[in-house]
């Protein structure tokens, strides 16, 4: 629906001087709102905890506002047609994440995470600006498919040589800085999948033999993808980072499906996932205990060992109820380890309640929807696949971790995008926002090019 309109747009291109649908003003107003909400949350935490607004609330607000403004200016300068919702949502989620981390810092005086997180966020926004300024056209990435995949594999293999932290070898520690390279790998893999699939679109769609009701592509086409996927999953299993493994798998299946339209892929994917999950769940002790925990979060209570992390997390959500206890008034710190990272959502659930949690979920949903919309509006298959891939990364990540901490699926360590403590994650997410801004700019911009590509896209769309 959007695609035809945008393809038609160049046909009757707006006359010069008439304002196009840039919506930068809307973005600025929304950004202001996002910053204000974050500052209010910051002040509320202070009021609830100490009875006074934190003295640096204004400074905090000014800093966040400045970051948002710079990002906005970069978008205004180089991506004037970008979707006006992407950046404000990212700023709001990041700001709320900082508030939640600051709130938890008050309970753990020896472990201050808000300031490092603020530094990482600044770095993330800087990277956002760099990407928006330097990457003039997302199609430039198409040429770096194999570089991307090589870099992704290298990043994923690297942490194996570093000591495991909390049962997972996903960190690189250099000095005081810890770094999770797998986070960046997911963007690189999305770029590779998008480039490779778009280049082999017709081969994937038509060639291959038919087994029962499923049409398979030839091994020549499918081989490299499956190989890459297997390697990445294998590496992740070795590193015991099941969350990311699940994410890559989901990303792979979704992109393959979008590229080929074969429901068979979904079926095979689900079968593979089920088999893999069962195998790993029963063999690997680290994962096995997670599954046990998920099946019965209260087993440790009955055993007299007190509540486990998941039980504590569920207690926190339950304590939130409909409206929450109010920022700064909950006890999610009882979760203990990883309360600021993997379990940050429990704090949101307890202190903001179901209402606040739904708002958060809807923010993510809106963000993902905007990514998909950009994909729909584009005409080049690479851009489409990349937009869908990046949006799906966020969607899957939210589902995997939110479902995990709320007892919907087995818990796998993963960062809630933008909210959770974790530098690599925040920086990566800002790059995702930058790429989506770039793609949505291409999708919404009036196109002076010929209608050839547009026709092609329409034919394909009709198929």
């Amino acid at each position: 629906m959007t695609a035809p309109r945008s393809t038609d747009a160049p046909a009757d291109a707006p006359p010069p001087g008439v304002r196009g649908p840039k919506r930068r003003g809307v973005e600025l107003v929304l950004l202001l709102g996002a910053v204000l909400i974050s500052v209010c949350g910051y002040a509320e935490v202070g009021l609830a905890h100490d009875g006074a607004v934190p003295p640096d609330a204004a400074r905090y607000g000014a800093g966040l506002g400045l970051l948002a403004l710079l990002a906005h200016l970069a978008v205004r300068l180089r991506a004037p047609y970008a979707d006006p919702l992407l950046l404000p949502i990212a700023v709001l989620l990041n700001g709320l994440g900082l508030v939640l981390i600051y709130r938890l810092d008050l309970e753990t005086p020896r472990d201050q995470a808000a300031t490092p997180q603020l530094v990482w966020s600044t770095l993330g926004v800087a990277l956002f600006i760099v990407v928006v300024l330097l990457l003039r056209d997302h199609r430039a990435l198409q040429g770096y498919a194999y570089v991307s995949v090589a870099a992704a594999l290298a990043l994923m293999i690297l942490p194996i040589f570093f000591p495991a932290v909390n049962g997972a070898r996903i960190w690189i520690r250099i000095g005081g800085l810890s770094f999770q390279p797998g986070e960046f790998a997911k963007i690189l893999l999305a770029v590779f999948f998008a480039a490779y699939l778009s280049a082999n679109l017709s081969a994937l769609a038509y060639a291959g033999r038919r087994i029962w009701r499923f049409q398979f592509p030839t091994w020549r086409v499918l081989g490299p993808i499956v190989a890459i996927w297997l390697v990445s999953v294998g590496v992740l299993v070795l590193e015991r980072d099941l969350g990311t493994s699940l994410l890559f798998f989901g990303l792979f299946v979704i992109m393959l499906y979008v590229a080929t339209g074969r429901t068979g892929w979904i079926a095979i994917g689900l079968l593979l996932a089920a088999a893999g999950a069962f195998l790993i769940g029963s063999v690997e002790p680290h994962v096995h205990s997670r599954v046990e925990d998920w099946l019965d979060p209260y087993a440790s209570i009955r055993a007299g060992d007190g509540p486990g992390q998941l039980a504590q997390s569920l207690f926190a959500f339950a304590a939130g109820g409909m409206l929450g206890t109010g920022l700064g008034l909950g006890h999610s710190v009882l979760i203990g380890f990883a309360a600021k990272s993997d379990f940050i959502l429990a704090t949101a659930g307890e202190e903001l309640g179901l209402a606040g949690l739904c708002a958060l979920f809807l923010l993510y949903a809106l963000f993902v929807a905007r990514g998909y919309r950009a994909g729909l509006a584009l005409r080049d298959p690479f851009g489409r696949l990349l937009a869908v891939g990046l949006a799906s990364i966020v969607a899957l990540q939210v589902f995997v971790i939110a479902g995990g901490v709320m007892g919907l699926i087995p818990l796998t360590g993963m960062a809630m995008p933008f909210l959770a403590q974790g530098g690599s994650s925040v920086v990566t997410n800002w790059v995702i926002v930058a790429l989506l801004v770039r793609i949505s700019d291409s999708a919404r911009a009036p196109r002076p090019e010929s209608a050839d590509t547009g026709e092609l896209a329409r034919v394909e769309a009709g198929r």
């Binding site: 209260y298 304590a319 993902v368 998909y372 869908v388 949006a391 899957l396």
Partner: protein, 578 residues
């Protein structure tokens, strides 16, 4: 490709829906269950996040709270903890609450919805009201008199206001410091282990939760049953009971400690505590009549709350005549809490009616506004008013010239009944000394106080243990304090009347030196001389003295006791003299 993108988007929507539905499940549907999970610390954190409300005695709080700086922030403290422990109980973050701390926990912790300024206010704001205060009926000076009277000996004292049912003193001894259990941690665990394993059972509330064979004090109940049922029409007429008395259906002989009990009148039997007469009367009344009478006094009632629950006092419903005879003098399976026996005395004092005993006068918000006030209620009509008046006279006689002379208070009308209860296998256990009494100021329309004292003093020589010797002086001190307080409260309207009767109480004319706080000065004298400083010398030696002698000899004479209850019969019976 567009169609597939839409489908992928639909998948994402499905994931979102799953998350939202799951959120509703966890946060709304299962929330109450999760909140109530004992492993969830939130309830405890919220409960101890604010200072607890206070328990007030005589206008002053006997509790407090201390900021521990821990996760469970405010810990309970107690002022004069051991003195008031049987009233307050403890409020421990580790071991829960007992007594008033338990019964009024919702109010004290602020969870009571009645404390909220508006209905549902706390549900809406998710707040908790500041804890409310509990104002007790205890009078501090009476509590102290009872506490110092027991002086660490094992025993209990309960004092009631007969007309209202207010519990004026509630003492269990030895007591404990409830504050040592307040917090969390190793110290508290050690203290708990120490208190729960101590052979003295300091945490046992003997006044409400321990039952003792009531011994001769139960004869009041038997007498009431005999009078109400018409078995005895004239208290001064001789009854047809031989001495010694053979238990019906057996060959066992029930001896007396007192003399002159053969065919003695009810009046004489109560005055000198004749086992034979009372056992015979119990058999004459019959099982049904005795059970009914006992239940009218509150025996076999499992539902009594003051508001802490009270242990059941027992009077068997199925017995053979010989067992009934023994039960009628407070032996065999008959047991009673000190509160129950105080209610017996109160029934006599209050013309047969027992007012529902209660410990909490009213509850207030932290600001002092009354939340709830305990109304006066009738518990039961234990006997007819006429019977009560006759028993009053008989109990007064027992104090004026009988077994209870140690309880006499000049200037006041005091009625009492002693008891010495045998217990243990073969009655080898140290006997319990009982005394129940009531007192009425001469210028007052009705008795001011009814009291029950039990002393289970394992350390004293057995000869010292008798209701009249050990327990009566404690009862006297408590009653004297009650009379003084009553006179004070009447002071304003009838100052001249008060002045006239005042001297006896505070002046302590009977040569018992020392403040009312130190009744122990009188206590050692009591066992030594049979009639310690009593105003009127008894006509004959007080049976107090002879009583313990018999049981002491008894076990020695019959070393091979048959097995169970009936075995205790011959020995249980003689014990209940005094």
């Amino acid at each position: 490709m567009i169609r597939y993108i839409r489908r992928a988007a639909a998948l994402c929507l499905l994931l979102l829906a799953a998350l939202l539905v799951n959120a509703v499940r966890v946060m709304l549907v299962e929330a109450a269950e999760l909140d109530a999970n004992p492993a969830n610390r939130r309830t405890a954190i919220a409960r101890w996040a604010e200072p607890r409300g206070e328990i007030v005695v005589d206008g002053r709080p006997v509790t407090g709270s201390r900021d521990s700086g821990q996760q469970l922030r405010w810990e309970r403290t107690y002022r004069r903890g051991p003195l008031y422990a049987p009233v307050t109980g403890h409020a421990s973050q580790t071991y829960g609450t007992t007594m008033v701390e338990h019964a009024e926990d919702e109010l004290l912790s602020g969870a009571d919805p009645m404390l909220a300024p508006l209905p549902l206010w706390n549900d809406l704001t998710r707040g908790r009201s500041p804890g409310g205060d509990v104002v007790t009926t205890i009078r501090a000076s009476m509590q102290e008199a009872a506490y110092w009277g027991l002086d660490g000996k094992r025993g209990a004292v309960v004092a009631l206001e007969p007309s209202s049912g207010r519990i004026l003193a509630l003492v269990s001894s030895p007591s404990y410091e409830p504050g040592v259990l307040s917090g969390t941690g190793a110290d508290v665990k050690d203290a708990w282990a120490r208190l729960t394993t101590s052979p003295n059972q300091p945490m046992l509330n003997r006044a409400l939760r321990q039952t003792y064979p009531p011994g001769s004090t139960f004869k009041i109940v038997t007498a009431a049953a005999a009078l109400d049922s018409g078995v005895v029409r004239d208290v001064d007429a001789p009854t047809d009971t031989p001495d010694p008395f053979v238990l019906p259906g057996t060959r066992q002989v029930l001896p007396n400690e007192a003399r002159g009990c053969a065919d003695a009148s009810l009046a004489y039997a109560l005055q000198w505590s004749c086992n034979t007469v009372m056992a015979g009367l119990g058999v004459d009344v019959g099982l049904e009549g005795m059970v009914e009478a006992a239940e009218r006094f509150g025996f076999d009632d499992t539902t009594l709350r003051v508001p802490s629950w009270v242990a059941k006092s027992n009077f068997d419903r199925v017995m053979s005549p010989d067992q009934l005879a023994l039960s009628s003098i407070g032996q065999f399976d008959t047991t009673a809490t000190p509160l129950q026996m105080a209610m017996v005395a109160a029934a006599v004092a209050n013309t047969g009616e027992i007012a529902q005993p209660y410990l909490v006068d009213r509850t207030t918000t932290s600001g002092g506004a009354t939340v709830d006030r305990t109304p006066r209620r009738t518990y039961r009509q234990a006997m007819s008013a006429a019977t009560a008046f006759r028993l009053q006279r008989l109990m007064v006689r027992a104090v004026e010239e009988g077994t209870g002379t140690n309880a006499a208070i000049p200037g006041a009308r005091v009625g009492g009944k002693t008891g010495t209860a045998q217990h243990g296998f073969g009655n080898t256990g140290t006997p319990y000394a009982w005394f129940i009494a009531w007192a009425q100021a001469e210028d007052s329309a009705r008795p001011a106080v009814a009291v029950a004292v039990v002393v289970e003093d394992a350390e004293a020589a057995r000869a010292d243990i008798s209701g009249g010797g050990s327990a009566a002086p404690i009862a006297r001190d408590v009653m004297r304090e009650a009379l003084r307080l009553e006179a004070e409260s009447r002071g304003a309207p009838g100052a001249r009347g008060t002045r006239a009767t005042e001297p006896p109480a505070p002046a302590r004319p009977r040569g018992a030196p020392g403040a009312r706080r130190a009744p122990e000065t009188t206590r050692p004298a009591a066992p030594a001389s049979p009639a310690p400083a009593a105003p009127a010398a008894p006509a004959r030696p007080a049976p107090d003295r002879t009583v313990p002698a018999a049981p002491r000899g008894a076990p020695g004479e019959r070393p091979s006791a048959p097995a169970r209850k009936p075995s205790a019969v011959p020995r249980g019976a003689p014990g209940s003299g005094g």
